[in-house]
Symmetry: C2
Subunit: 181 residues, 2 copies
């Protein structure tokens, strides 16, 4: 049988102790596991999930938008008028995702879309008046929430964290990391 029933044991587990339990047990049971790398990714992923959920539900959904939509507006704001392809590159999304998001943003009157004069395939994206107002207003609320999160760390710790995350992303170029096309 695949498992011994031990429901009472599971009751002692909770959100905060799960990572400890997982690292202990897996590194005892499976060969070739690096417990530190395991703990790093579990901790990282959990923190990222919490941050994304919080910003999404505390800042963006109450305004009737989404963080992905905000990211597209943000990229256009800082680089527009701009081609959809570049928005995808800057925001780290796929072209199809940008295309879908721009449809809803255009429907809501925040983004203007027109074919490029110099290339019949390309689409030029820009903000409308409403879009400009939306992104500047939303950004300030977004950053206020970012400041709450950053308040967990001293300035030095924040710089250290940024530096370590930068090393992580820079290193990924060395082992043919998969990336969106």
């Amino acid at each position: 049988m695949p498992q011994e029933p031990e429901p009472l044991d599971a009751d002692h587990l909770h959100f905060w102790s799960f990572i400890d339990h997982a690292v202990d047990r897996v590194s005892r049971e499976l060969p070739g596991i690096d417990p530190l790398a395991m703990r790093l990714v579990l901790t990282f992923h959990r923190a990222a999930n919490m941050l994304v959920y919080d910003l999404e539900s505390a800042v963006h959904r109450p305004r009737g938008w989404s963080w992905p939509g905000f990211r597209v507006l943000f990229a256009i704001w800082l680089s527009g008028p701009v081609e959809a392809k570049k928005v995808a590159e800057l925001s780290g999304m796929s072209r199809a995702a940008v295309s879908a998001l721009v449809n809803t943003l255009e429907r809501d009157g925040l983004v203007s879309k027109e074919r490029a004069s110099y290339d019949g395939r390309a689409v030029q994206l820009g903000l409308t008046e409403a879009g400009l107002h939306a992104i500047t207003t939303a950004f300030q609320a977004h950053n206020a929430r970012e400041q709450e999160w950053a308040g967990a760390l001293s300035e030095d710790e924040q710089r250290t964290l940024i530096e370590l995350l930068g090393k992580l992303t820079a290193h990924s170029a060395h082992f043919d990391v998969r990336h969106r096309t």
Copy 2:
């Protein structure tokens, strides 16, 4: 008009310089912005996106599964037989998400589901033989990829990063962070 057209300017922007450009310009244009908090969240979110995309496309999709499915299997493996509610808590997902994922995992023969004898509402989840094999095999591939990522940092740096991320999530309890129910 909302924007000055400056398409040539945008051409100089790319994935790696976008954060610098964004922080510079936004902190000059908007009042009350904390540039360090902004840079921290942008860097964090970008790194998390790259990690998630890479593990998903390099490890899980080639096996015909997803990282969310893997997370559910992982939680059941370490705590099962277990109620769906606890799986949601341990994996940081909503109950509805667990319910949907368990349906596909059960359809694929990896998870067994039965009503709890002691509570007619609850569902007990366990791994099948195939599920146990799937999670142990997939976990080793997953951890091998985690080791690639962690290889960007020394052991001390990895511990520092884990500690800083831990501070971030621990602090979030102090400002009524939104969390899944």
